[in-house]
């Protein structure tokens, strides 16, 4: 049996950061990655814009993640690549994992687990696209894999559904590679991706963005021949009279990401219905003692810089947990949010640990020109901060000292965004 203090599952930006910080904290670490190379999805993100927050420079995805891989290698942290975890069990002493790779089936034991399993893309069927089942309907990430990693063109003349960031990036990429991008259709009245991507990927290339529009049907028996698009009403239902058929050979979907937590769920980790990631405290520990979550598995981030940050924090916390396992009792208070927030991470505060520096990530439910984030403890305001231009697609980060909140086990914390005028 191979024993470790911390096993990190996933070798993308979150997992790498977690492994490095756990190692820095003195833990015996193993990182398990299912692909043949470290780097996760960043391997295929050859566009720039990564690392502005963390390094103050614009890096490509591979450049950004290479910095972490370099440190990971320098620290001689153990890793097992092309290795797939098939089974996880909680025991009295921690966890037993089973994984397969080209050399066989292996068992590992760990005191703490960091789940850095990333996210997956929503598919055509999950957004109720009907019609035939031809070749040429694929997600933006799959298209990106083909173009950037395999050097192959999956499209010549395409329509993109959804204005998520990967869809916007792929609109530009495919245009640069010689394909014709007929338009990006977004069912919501506002774009889903970052403003900078709308400008740099669509506007600069004169690719039209159709808001409040969706693709309702696909045509073609073998390869896609056309899609049907329609305007939607306020309930996001297609308006029949606006239906239009557009000839194209490819439909690319960028309609949302879902954190991958199937393994976490098998361990009994409870998920937040808003983030689709685990409910965790500010040390990134889930409700299952010893299981930590970070990166896009925890909640879908728009900037990799924050993915690395949560990885780093969860790695440190996991190493500390492994060190003094079982010596402290869990004492936590939930953070209650109302409809003004799309979500808030973490969902809980651990009372006995590091309340002097708590990092919050949140998204507003609505587009707000001005709004105030308010923390209430037992109905009394303990903190507020004013924000300008809050938008659901743009996640906000907040660092806060919560020691002055005067929290006890019985405290009730409410977090809300008040619109201008409400206060």
């Amino acid at each position: 049996m191979n024993r470790y203090d911390v096993i990190v599952i996933g070798g993308g930006p979150a997992g790498l950061a977690a492994a490095i910080s756990a190692d820095r904290r003195g833990a015996e670490v193993l990182l398990i990655e299912r692909e043949a190379r470290l780097g996760g999805i960043l391997k295929q993100c050859i566009h720039d814009g990564f690392g502005l927050v963390r390094f103050g420079e614009k890096l490509s995805g591979p450049e950004y993640v290479e910095r972490f891989i370099k440190e990971f290698r320098e620290r001689r942290i153990q890793s097992s690549l092309l290795t797939f975890v098939t089974d996880m069990k909680k025991t009295d002493h921690g966890f037993v994992l089973r994984a397969v790779n080209r050399s066989g089936v292996h068992e590992y034991e760990a005191k703490a687990l960091v789940l850095a399993t990333g996210c997956r893309e929503r598919t055509a069927k999950q957004v109720q696209i009907h019609g035939t089942r031809p070749a040429g309907v694929l997600t933006a990430g799959t298209a990106q894999h083909f173009v950037n990693l395999q050097g192959k063109m999956p499209a010549r003349k395409c329509v993109i559904l959804g204005s998520g960031d990967i869809g916007l990036i792929m609109a530009r990429r495919l245009t640069l590679e010689g394909a014709e991008v007929l338009g990006v259709y977004e069912v919501k009245p506002t774009p889903s991706g970052l403003t900078r991507n709308i400008v740099q990927c669509l506007d600069d290339y004169k690719i039209p963005l159709y808001l409040s529009h969706t693709v309702t049907r696909v045509f073609g028996e073998q390869r896609l021949t056309a899609v049907e698009v329609a305007e939607v009403d306020e309930q996001m239902q297609p308006i029949k009279s606006t239906r239009k058929r557009i000839a194209c050979d490819t439909l690319i979907l960028s309609v949302g990401l879902i954190p991958e937590n199937e393994m976490a769920e098998k361990l009994g980790v409870r998920l937040d219905t808003k983030t689709k990631g685990p409910v965790c405290n500010h040390r990134f520990m889930t409700e299952v003692e010893g299981v930590f979550s970070c990166g896009n598995a925890l909640h879908v981030n728009d900037l990799v810089d924050y993915v690395s940050e949560s990885g780093e924090l969860s790695g440190t916390a996991a190493a500390e947990y492994a060190e003094k396992m079982g010596s402290t009792k869990r004492r936590e208070v939930s953070l209650n949010t109302d409809a003004s927030l799309q979500y808030l991470v973490p969902q809980k505060l651990a009372l006995s640990e590091g309340l002097d520096k708590v990092i919050f990530y949140f998204r507003s439910r609505e587009v707000l020109k001005q709004g105030t984030l308010v923390f209430l403890v037992d109905g009394k305001e303990v903190f507020h901060r004013k924000y300008r231009n809050l938008k659901p697609p743009e996640m906000e980060r907040l660092e806060l000292n919560c020691t002055s909140f005067g929290l006890s086990d019985a405290s009730r914390i409410d977090v809300q965004i008040k619109k201008e005028g409400d206060i």
Binding site: V100, G104, E177
Partner: protein, 575 residues
Amino acid sequence: MNVRSLQKRLNERFGPTVSVQVKDGCIVVSGHLDSWDKIVAACTMCVDKKSGMHVVNDIRLDGVRIPKMRTPDFQDHALENAAPDVLIIGGGISGASIARELSKWKLDILLVDKESDLAVQASGRNDGEVHPGVDLNKGSLKQHYVLLGNRMFDQVCKELSVPFERCGQYVGFTGKWMYPIIWAYVWQRRYVCKVTDTRILKRKELFRREPNLNPKFHFAMFNPSAGCVCPYGLTIAYGENAVENGAKVSLNTAVLGMEVKNGRICSVKTNRGTLYPKIVVNAAGVFAEDVARMAGDRFYSIHPRRGTNSILDKKSGSLVKGIASIKTLQKNKKHTKGGGILHTVHDNLLVGPNAVETYEKENFATQKGSIDAVFAKQKLTAEALSEKDIITYFTGVRPATFEEDFIIEKGRKTRNLIHCAGIQSPGLTTAPAVALDIEKMVISELKKEKKPERNPNFCPVRKAPPVLNQLSYEERNKLIQENPDYGEIVCRCEEISKGEILDALNAPICVPTIDGIKKRVRPGMGRCQGGFCMPLVTKIISEFLQVPEERVRKAGEGSGILFGDTKCTDEEVAE
């Protein structure tokens, strides 16, 4: 039958444009009408089961050109002058199981299908239920074969290494007052129809077994003999075992015409050459009528009926452990049980199907309305059922006759032809039993010339490749040591290794397409629907075939996935 009174009733309901007559031992309905539903209704009205005659539909649909059968758009001479003892037309569950049973004999067997794989039409778009036959009345071929077929499944699936589970079927009832009626019905099914496992489950027992069903169910009709199987998995396994035993399968091969002389098929024209079979088995599904017409033996008609099923994420699999549906006692006018919820052998839930009459035999496009209707109904079976768990959906077309029964008999006019037609539900369940009878018919026909010999090398057991995630730790480890490709996971949702994909490519019937691999070993069947693994599977296929990745297809001709290298000029692409 009284044709005059039937004609009168037809005219009363459909006006003067329809007429019925008895011709050549068939009930021929002709004329023209303005809607397909009317045509189906008119033909159904003319059904007369006692006469032994079938309804042949010659009514034209006003203003509509019925789409022609889609055929592969290439031609070669691969089969030119082939003279098989038996030509089986159609590679669905019927054709594949017949090929396998016939491979017990020393015969030259050729199965052709116009599609690029087996089980592409009805057999690949089926819910996979192995029916107990409780809903069928005595006297029909369906009922006769369903009882025989159901019993054969344990053995057949064991021999062919296909997962099969007798998970039981529950039909729930909400009205207490229905109890005496259903009690009588169950008695009749047990003792008259010989569906001997039928019984009533009281509320407590029902909820002990299936705790998530509609809490308003007072009792349920229960058939423990009902089961589920992967329909295309079984079809492919039958086909592979047939090939292992010497049969040949030619895909992308469409039958385009026949030369018939003196009541015998002399030759069969395909896009891959002209064949000279001794005997032809018509297992052509929705196109069985077209094949019958080519053979000069069209004595029945097929009216296609579309149905849509949804597949739900495995996470929702625990909602229903067997097969469950709700029954209200309103007269069911549509020819279906209204679908149900089925726990598949791969631990997903399958919800559906519905039933819609259509003249389009190959329109497999899905529609939102079908799914909405099925879910609205099935939420009455299990409240917690949610559309949010849908990972995919698909539509199939059932080949129904107007008599709503199978046609399993020798040609009425053409002697070297055997029909296995009208095989709609429960055709998957009946296939093993029907195949045995067709085998007998073929042999007795061939005997007239020369008695066929037994195939001394016949082995009923398919050499199935291993399914790694079903193995024990030790077995899995051992196999990976022998073949490291078994340790390299390609499909993360379904946990499929590269080794298993290569096994599928090396199988007796190699279908090196994304869909072909998906049907055999399941990469792409999971919740990401191939988002992660499709590029990897494409690469494995291209390496196996030693062709560039842009030559790899999703399914048939023209379904290429890639257009060549990036930064390619148009001229380069054209090359």
